[in-house]
Amino acid sequence: MKDKLTPKTITFGLLVCFLPLLMYGVDDIVDFLSQYDIYLGWPGGEYMLRIIVRACVYMLLAVGLNIVCGFTGLLDLGYVCFYLIGGYTAGILMARLGVSYWIALPLAVLHGTVWGLLRGAPTLRLTGDYFAIVTFGFAELFFRIVRNEQWLVGAPNGQLRGIPSPTLFGITFSQNWHNYYHIIILLTLVIFITYRLQHSRVGRAWVAIREDEQAAESMGINVSRYKSLAFAVSAAIGALGGGFIAQFQVSISVPFFDFWESILILCMVVLGGMGSIRGAMIGAAILGSLGEVLRPGFIIPYQFGNARYLIFGIILILLMRFRPGGLSLKKA
């Protein structure tokens, strides 16, 4: 990520900007060819866009998780709880209370941040395994609260339906390409903020804490403050992803935010190489799309169910054994 305009970055930027057009363009080509009985295995532009949007959400989450896991070196096994908090806060505000998306989203982010700090406060002393276990337990508690407290969501099993699409100046942003640009803007914002943080005093303090907490403290770094900041930023990004996905999915339910989702996001960060924003995004892009390809019924027969998690597990084991620094070339 250099601030230079090289032909490569310009091409990439143009591709990102005009991706929906490209997708619909391929649709037209496929339509045209089908008149001559030539059929390509193209699943359709709208479907592809939906997958891309979902992969972008994973990128957002992976970048957020990377702040705690990669920068401060603490294993967070319950990141999905902020995703859940963001999703349900925005969802309940919009679907049940009729609040506008543009107010609900910042509130969701705020709510996630508060819980990030609340969860962080008692865990500041903890390291390694104990931190991982507390984060895991915390996420499971939230999962159960949303599932059991029916008054909160209004339906059993956290089924929240009919979340409206955001509107602005009379335009309803419900199309897939709307959502595409929407998530790209959010993602760019998040990457910009994270990148600036990483290359500032704050980022250096985080890495110092990761390398040696005691040494960092003796050098005058306020460990508790910087750790809390990392928890807050990370939680805010998770909640942002949740707020977006709530309106994108229209209906959400608890199984969508289970423990394995946390593990999936962790897997993305590990695959790309912990501590690198670009790594987290590459990991999310690979596993996000791989997860789509490996969905039951496509390549893997239905009776095997979610066998993609088997493959994710193997990826984790092999990476830790042979390339603990992830796919990026930087050695951990």
Partner: protein
């Protein structure tokens, strides 16, 4: 009152099962400081392997139990050999992530082999005394002890508790009276120094995995006697058992046994008197509270470096 007594016994039985699993977590943690996430999955494999032995291979239940223990012990040693041993000197985070990976692989493997459908041991494969019933017409009680107040205590629960206690005592004797037990205690104190003293640490660790996994397998079969066997049971019960290990002070075997009983009782009473939807949440809350307030556990010595 009768309900209270029955709940208490249920809690004890569940606690005994948790204690058996928790011992596996705590022994491994004591020696290599690794939360063996895959232990819950080994426990689940124990139940499935025994089920497969009795249904597919028509092996009597009495032989299926030790056979399943043996197979799980081998599985535990295999996991250690393939996944954990190469990472012995790597950062602890790498080993922990590997453990999660193993857990994912085993759980989904079980789903592929045995399907996600919940299963029970077919009654005809079980020894007769494990199946208790009350004849409604005559009021005759089969294979159970009547309790004051109208409840019954099935022989199944009695045998689970007895077996759990016997295994615990056997483990305790093994650790404090035998040579391998001494080696395990030495490794838990200081692995490098033990190695220098001529203890084959890798063998000791393999034995630790084998014992923990065999006990986990027994616990899995015990659960299978009264509840459905599912691929996710290892995950749910595993976390509760881990909470028990944390409560007792991780690395402390006696603590894990007592922690198991406490978690079992808390879960049953919580589900009975608070809300059944929060059944597992109670174990999580206890676990978080212990880690945050007293990381060395109820019975552990406080060590500076672990918290």
């Amino acid at each position: 009152m009768a309900q209270l007594l029955e709940q208490f016994i249920n809690g004890l039985v569940l606690g005994g099962i948790y204690a058996l699993i928790a011992v596996g977590y705590t022994m491994v943690y004591g020696i290599i400081q690794l939360i063996n996430f895959a232990h819950g999955e080994i426990f689940m494999f124990g139940a499935y392997l025994a089920l497969m032995l009795v249904t597919v291979f028509n092996i009597p239940f009495w032989i299926a139990v030790p056979a399943s223990m043996l197979l799980c012990a081998m599985l535990g040693m295999l996991i250690d050999l393939v996944a954990y041993r190469p990472l012995r000197d790597a950062p602890r985070l790498s080993a922990l992530i590997t453990a999660i990976g193993i857990s994912l692989v085993l759980q989904n493997l079980a789903r592929m082999i045995w399907s996600a459908r919940p299963q029970l041991f077919p009654t005809e494969t079980l020894p007769a005394f494990l199946i208790s019933e009350v004849n409604m017409q005559t009021g005759e009680i089969l294979n159970a002890i009547p309790l004051p107040g109208g409840g019954i205590l099935p022989y199944r629960d009695v045998s689970i508790l007895l077996l759990a206690v016997v295994l615990m005592i056997a483990l305790n004797r093994l650790i404090y009276l035998t040579k391998i037990g001494k080696a395990m205690r030495a490794c838990a104190q200081n692995r490098v120094a033990s190695n220098l003293m001529g203890i084959k640490t890798n063998q000791v660790i393999a034995v630790t995995f084998a014992i923990g996994s065999a006990l986990g397998a027994v616990a899995g079969i015990m659960v299978g006697l009264s509840e459905n066997i599912t691929p996710t049971m290892g995950y749910y019960k595993g976390v509760a058992a881990f909470a028990a290990a944390v409560l007792g002070g991780i690395g402390n075997i006696t603590g894990a046994m007592l922690g198991g009983i406490i978690i079992g009782l808390a879960e049953v009473f919580g589900a009975g008197y608070i809300s059944s939807g929060y059944r597992l949440a109670i174990a999580y809350i206890i676990m978080i509270a212990v880690i945050v307030i007293r990381p060395s556990g109820l019975f552990g010595k406080s060590t500076a470096n672990r918290a």
